[in-house]
């Protein structure tokens, strides 16, 4: 099964606005979901320079941009994609 790609932005703005907490995402996921997720980091997704994308921190889940990302929002999005896939 294709894994869900999660890219966490760790640029200065995103890190300060909450990405530091998002780095615990792999521990927050249940082991089954964790196995179906591929994590990657980005120095800067380049989304914070324009207001149209919303507020930092930003996370991309399979290409979908999540603004003002929290552990809960990212987990919900991952589950939504996985459920749809099933």
């Amino acid at each position: 099964m294709k894994k869900v790609n999660v890219t966490i932005c760790t640029g200065t703005t995103c890190y300060l606005m909450g990405a530091a907490n998002l780095l615990t995402l792999d521990e927050a996921l249940d082991p089954c979901t964790r196995e179906q997720v591929e994590f990657s980091g980005s120095h800067c997704l380049g989304l914070c320079t324009s207001e149209e994308h919303g507020k930092a921190p930003f996370v991309k889940v399979d290409g979908h941009v999540i603004a003002d990302a929290t552990l809960m929002k990212v987990q919900d999005k991952i589950r939504e994609i996985l459920d749809r896939g099933e």
């Binding site: 760790t10 200065t12 703005t13 300060l16 606005m17 530091a20 994590f39 980091g41 120095h43 930092a56």
Partner: protein
């Protein structure tokens, strides 16, 4: 502390190009465990006019405040005398004769080692009472002939004067008797570590790590001495100074995108063609370099989580890639003396690379990051230009590095 001093030249065997050598001078010290003040003094004088490097290690009789005063007084006298560009041996005799001998213990009030390096590579070492220095050349300790002079008071004290020419990769290691007498009375080392034990230890450290810096070697020697103490506590003041004649280690610290996008290729070219350690601090800067050079970046998301700083990334050809302002601010804090955290992070890695360098080229991109101007950001973010200037000043003034600051 660190002292790097542009020294004499040498020819590279392969290219015939003259390469300047650096004198890296460092010391490390642990005071006697029962005292609050070290009884050994280490002083340095760098004469920027004639590139002369003078250093004195003095060991005051006893320990604590009294020893500290005796050692500092002696070291200050030696530095002041040696600064005058005349025959130091004459002055060393004056110091020796003016320092009285303790009536109870019949030993001198203070001992000293003075290392005087000239820009042409000639070295003069004057010792009185301290253990003999070790000259490590090509991995072996080398005996240097000396001349001995007696004092005018007719006591046991002798002045030893060594003169030789330093060669590239030479290391001069000098220490107080706290090093050689460490572990005295213990079953394994009834007479202490002695000079031989210390020399064997140093040879071993250097053979395991031939590029070991003076800073790290001095720390190793002091820790090695402590290992001989049965309680692992210093029974005397332990001080070790190391002077290392080395080919300069160059580092490039690049941070911030260029003011104009048209300069992006130049920016990447400067970084790509630099010979030495390369650090890129800043996400956008790293992206520009990756794009221009056609290489990938991989962020190490979880290795340093919980360290309080954003993670590092890996890029082919670059030694360290970090986030920008937060990491640089923390690196400046570390350079200014903030204790290193127990857990490694991007700033401790950068700090280590900078301290192990002699010549540091700081390349500052001056484009302002609009996102950092957002008033809702919870922390004051420094303007990169002033932050980099402060890092440059600290490296120059506190660590005496040779720093070149360039804005693009």
């Amino acid at each position: 502390m660190n002292l790097c001093n542009r020294n004499f030249d040498r020819k590279d065997a392969g290219t015939g190009i003259l390469k300047p050598l650096f004198k890296e001078l460092e010391f490390h010290q642990v005071r006697k465990h029962s005292q609050h003040t070290a009884g050994d003094a280490f002083m340095v004088h760098k004469d920027s006019k004639n590139n002369r490097l003078l250093t004195v290690l003095s060991d005051g009789l006893g320990s604590g405040v009294k020893a500290n005063i005796l050692a500092n007084m002696t070291a200050r006298m030696a530095i002041k005398f040696a600064e005058a560009d005349t025959d130091f041996v004459h002055y060393a005799k004056i110091i020796m004769n003016s320092l009285p001998v303790c009536q109870v213990r019949k030993i001198a009030y203070a001992t000293f080692t003075v290392v005087d390096c000239r820009p042409d590579g000639s070295v003069q070492i004057v010792e009185q009472g301290n253990p003999p220095f070790i000259l490590l050349r090509d991995g072996e300790s080398v005996e240097i002939p000396w001349k001995e002079y007696g004092g005018s008071l007719g006591d046991y004290r002798k002045l030893r004067v060594y003169r030789f020419n330093a060669q590239p990769e030479d290391r001069i290691i000098f220490f107080s008797d706290g090093v050689t007498e460490a572990g005295m009375g213990a079953a394994a080392t009834p007479l202490g570590w002695r000079n031989k034990g210390c020399a064997d230890f140093i040879r071993n450290v250097v053979s395991n790590d031939p590029m070991v810096s003076a800073r790290v070697l001095a720390q190793h020697v002091v820790r090695g001495a402590l290992q001989n103490e049965p309680t692992r506590q210093a029974c005397d003041d332990i001080t070790c100074g190391v002077l290392y004649f080395r080919t300069p280690r160059c580092t490039l610290l690049a941070s911030g995108p260029p003011f104009s996008k048209q300069r992006d290729p130049d920016y990447a070219h400067i970084i790509h063609s630099f010979e030495g350690t390369k650090i890129i601090s800043g996400g956008t800067s790293a992206d520009i370099v990756a794009r221009e050079l056609g290489v990938g970046i991989k962020t190490d998301l979880f290795s340093f989580r919980g360290s309080g700083l954003p993670p590092i990334s890996h890029m082919e050809g670059i030694d360290l890639v970090t986030e920008g302002i937060l990491t640089l601010t923390e690196t400046l804090n570390l350079l200014e003396g903030k204790p290193s955290p127990a857990q490694k992070n991007a700033a401790t890695l950068m700090n280590e690379l900078l301290l192990n360098s002699d010549v540091i080229h700081i390349l500052v991109g001056t484009q302002i990051n609009q996102a950092h101007q957002d008033p809702s950001l919870p922390m004051e973010l420094e303007i990169r230009r002033s932050l980099m200037r402060r890092i440059a000043t600290t490296l120059e003034e506190r660590y005496l590095k040779e720093v070149k600051l360039e804005f693009i």
